[in-house]
Symmetry: C2
Subunit: 337 residues, 2 copies
């Protein structure tokens, strides 16, 4: 594959080139990985700096409807919008989010919108890498806003927050004054809370819920990356398309403040470091997945299970005799078994 040519076509905004490139970064084949790295190297520094907006919401909060309405509002303003997804469950469930584009039929027909379902990977680490690289590709293709959607499952919210400039939590109106069992950790990483379904019979409940969350947010420790008044809780109605522009203005205000204060760039730098370190660890652990390593592991695990070897002893054996010669360049004395 001519990755230089593909890079040029992406920079020219050719959608098919973008789609093909995303397929490339989603592949786990070693030669595809090498091409993907080459492609990303060609594109580095040439794209637009999009606003990367992470969005988490459990099933039932109206996430698809919100993204469609919000996306239509943005394209209506002449902005180019990409929608990506991080869904570690999709491999198991056959795609619990963004399984097909029919969920966002209007938006998927928009010329300035690009919707891509979550890659079918059961491993969150794999989904994370592919999504991060897809974000880079979308930026190179000139998108202004990249929405990264996730369901609130396990670590997926943290993963999405670690690749977003802004992280939004979408919630449904809750009866009573009880917070909806939202984990404190998630509240702490949310840059904005949007209470959806502020329409019809639920409007008053949505407003009450919003006030509750606004109160809860005020109780959290002030974060240096927030200007006065943030993080905020707002109500929106995806079906009535109400509150969307106000929410977008708040997001822009927050992003602008962070750009000026240096927090925006600092966050991206911190994320880049984080993902680099995470990639190194994953790459190292992948060495255990080769056929020969797995066979050696299986043999030693038998010995351990039968009580003929201790766990630490067997691990030492694996590292020294099966994975070693491991880094003579780095630590010859220690590894010279």
């Amino acid at each position: 594959m001519d990755t230089k040519d593909l890079a040029e076509r992406i920079l020219n905004g050719e959608r098919r080139a973008l789609a093909r490139a995303i397929t490339l970064v989603e592949s786990g084949r070693a030669d595809h990985r090498a091409q993907a790295r080459e492609l990303l190297a060609h594109l580095r520094g040439h794209g637009r700096e999009a606003l990367r907006v992470g969005l988490s919401g459990t099933p039932g909060v109206g996430k698809s409807t919100f993204i469609e309405a919000f996306g239509m509002m943005l394209t209506g303003q002449g902005l180019k919008v990409a929608v990506l997804a991080v869904d570690p469950s999709s491999a198991r469930s056959g795609g619990s989010i963004l399984g097909d584009k029919t969920r966002m039929e209007r938006l998927s027909r928009e010329r300035n919108a690009f919707i891509r379902p979550s890659p079918a990977q059961s491993h969150l680490g794999g989904v994370a890498r592919r999504t991060r690289e897809a974000i880079d590709l979308c930026e190179a293709a000139g998108f202004d806003v990249v929405l990264i959607e996730t369901v609130g499952v396990g670590q997926s919210e943290t993963v999405v927050a670690e690749m977003s400039d802004l992280f939004l939590l979408l919630l449904a109106p809750a009866g009573g004054d009880e917070l909806q069992g939202v984990k404190r950790g998630i509240m702490e990483i949310a840059d904005m809370i949007l209470v959806n379904k502020a329409d019809g019979d639920l409007k008053a409940t949505a407003q009450r819920t919003c006030a509750d969350y606004a109160g809860a947010l005020r109780l959290l420790r002030k974060r240096p990356q927030d200007p006065q008044g943030f993080p905020k809780a707002l109500t929106v109605s995806a079906v009535e398309e109400a509150g969307l522009e106000a929410a977008w203005q708040e997001m822009q205000a927050l992003a602008d403040w962070r750009r000026e204060s240096g927090h925006f760039a600092a966050r991206r730098e911190g994320q880049a470091r984080y993902w680099f370190e995470s990639e190194v660890r994953q790459g190292l652990l992948a060495r255990l997945e080769t056929k020969r390593a797995r066979a050696a592991m299986a043999d030693l695990a038998e010995e351990v299970a039968a009580g003929r070897l201790g766990a630490a002893e067997a691990a030492q054996e694996m590292l020294e005799h099966h994975l070693d010669a491991v880094m003579p360049g780095l630590d010859a004395a220690a590894s010279g078994a």
Copy 2:
């Protein structure tokens, strides 16, 4: 150090030899690790099969008082009891559990009891290994019951369950009929729930709480490793020393059933495999902690943060040029950079 001599003294039941051996397995020094592996190899197959009982309870449920009363009851029956702890927070807090033996003053004076605080390690993986090896040492020293205590912090309950034959959850009486925010995952790994403080004014509440949990346990899917009627919820009173013998009888009944059905051995085998694999992964990742590896990581992270290298590209560079020659024996074609 003469590890063969130390092994013999442990097998003879010398407490000072046991204490010294635990100090050895707690050390992170490479030469100590080698001696620890040697010592454990000498002991393998020579000890008693203790009943390993994991016990989780948040601060305030009366964990120390329970362990002391339960331990005294066991030593009163002529059994030898060891108490270990898994507390990843101890390095930070200066020891939130078992920080000193004065918490269990009576038990610590018993000839047939051995109490060991959690090793001062901030890393849960490190605490886990040291505790597992300390369990092996206690078995070699002839203990009948090894209690492994943990606070319910993060993953520590799962870690303790993975090194126990039985895993108990100790809870306090709760007002109302609401379950105490016990995570479903913890309910699912609990083999028995003990509601403590079933005495005085709290007695009725404790019984109601116990009935609630018994109901919740019945709603969980039946597990193959449980005989009819398990997992159970029982009330105990550590201060009145009530219900302790009944709880112990249930534990023994469960352990006996599992021994006969093969689940006991199967669980230990599965745990041995799990810890072996975990040790290999930890050992591999430890290669990133050498001085030269850290320096190379830091340099590359700078490049990534500055946007001059992509995360995947930099990770590839790290793995190929700084950690490689990595396993020519295993995968010469792929790593031949």
